[in-house]
């Protein structure tokens, strides 16, 4: 009797181990979101992006405040399961800034990324950042950014609809245009996508 109970215990523990190992080996891709608090909308935008990446199946963490280049470069240089990144900040064509105004440029960026969105004016004025994140030329990768200047309130409005209403239900391309249409005003949301127009943004 005691022997059979021991066998049952061993089997239960083995099952638990198998479940744990399979969970770890199938861990979803990770994503990190950053918000530069010099924008009054940083915490809102970070919250929306966390919600959206979660919907897409990413394991996501967020940071809003005095973000630094070293914080962001640590994530960009991750050797783990990090495939997603969102940054609400200031910047321009080919670079984006931290809280203190220091820039991350294309040559600082490496790795293979699935879904990156740099939420600063002109971040997608050219394909410089999209190429740096290696998001162009694949069926399941894309880069979102702004092709022109955007105001922080219009960006925040757009982000609300993108992350909480459309992402996961449509392609990223369609989600972006749908969210753009929800922002009042003419020419207020010059969003641009590089990479796959059929990708839903789902975590690998």
């Amino acid at each position: 009797m005691i022997k059979s109970k021991k066998i049952i215990s061993v089997i239960l523990i083995a099952v638990l181990l198998v479940i744990s190992i399979s969970t770890i080996s199938n861990a979803s891709a990770s994503s990190k979101v950053f918000g530069n608090s010099q924008s009054g909308y940083a915490s809102d935008c970070v919250g929306y992006a966390i919600y959206g990446y979660n919907l897409l199946g990413y394991s996501v963490t967020g940071s809003s405040g005095q973000i630094t280049t070293s914080d962001m470069l640590a994530w960009i240089g991750n050797t783990g399961n990090g495939y997603g990144m969102y940054v609400h900040t200031y910047g321009g064509d080919g670079y984006f800034n931290d809280y203190y105004g220091y820039s991350i440029v294309d040559t600082d960026i490496s790795g293979n990324w699935d879904f990156v969105y740099i939420d600063s004016s002109y971040s997608a004025a050219s394909n410089t950042l999209a190429s740096a994140f290696n998001t162009i030329g694949y069926t399941n990768r894309c880069f979102l950014g702004w092709s022109n200047a955007v105001t922080i309130s219009n960006a925040c409005f757009f982000n609300y609809y993108l992350w909480t209403c459309y992402i996961g239900n449509t392609t990223v391309q369609s989600a972006a245009v749908s969210a753009a249409s929800c922002v009042p005003g003419t020419g207020t949301t010059p969003i641009a996508l590089y990479g796959s127009t059929s990708y839903y943004g789902t975590a690998r």
Binding site: I8, S153, T170, T171, S178, P190
Partner: protein, 267 residues
Amino acid sequence: MKKYQKISILIAVLFSLLISIVYAATENSSSLDEEAESLTEAAISSQIENILEPIGTNSTIRKIEAFDDKMTDQKISKVYTDNYIVSLNNSTKQLVGIYEKEAKYNLKTTVTKESAREFITSKYNEMNLPSEYTLVYLEKFDDYVWEADFQKEYNGLYNMYEAVKVFFNPENEEIVALTIFNDPYTETSETTISSEEAVSRAANSIDNINSESIKDSKLTLIKGNSFYKENKDKTIHKAWVLVTQEDDQIFVDAASGEIIGGDSIND
């Protein structure tokens, strides 16, 4: 109690906990969806057909989801068809927007602006959208899609919150996204503040602003915000939008002279 018994109890407790959490999450989500469905499905079938028929796509309803739109304070039903998400206002049953699930993005648009105008005005009329709105903006959005904005006019000023904003590809005859804004301008107070006075009010209220800081001003219908100070008023005001040399914006109420909001470019 033996060690294996303790382990068995621990495993049972953990599994119970996990099952409870999963069940609670599923229950919450499905009850929300059921609420949206019971509220709207019977009422919307024919409406969906009327909306989607002019753009040549089927209107079979696949699912309905509730969405609490915190930006416009509307309770929305998102109705999924094969190709589109159709948003309807739960209270009024009015159309809020249509959004393509998989925009084609396969044909670059090469048509002239005139051809784009002909296409979108024709489609606008077919869809029975508000006839009193004026086409105020028509530009290429990107290589594939155009943006057109129809807005209601109030004595020479256009209300962007009472408008139709549409993104389309004329080559594919494709409506990619269309949103109807339905927030009328109801303010009755007279414009008593001139542009110069608005600049002066801004200079008195905001640090580092003087008449030389402002490079442009425009009388606009706009909602305030908390950019400069806490402002929960969501109504539309006639206001001067002052643009600084750094491209920041200051909204000055054209009747009271109060600073009601602002904005800045994130570059």
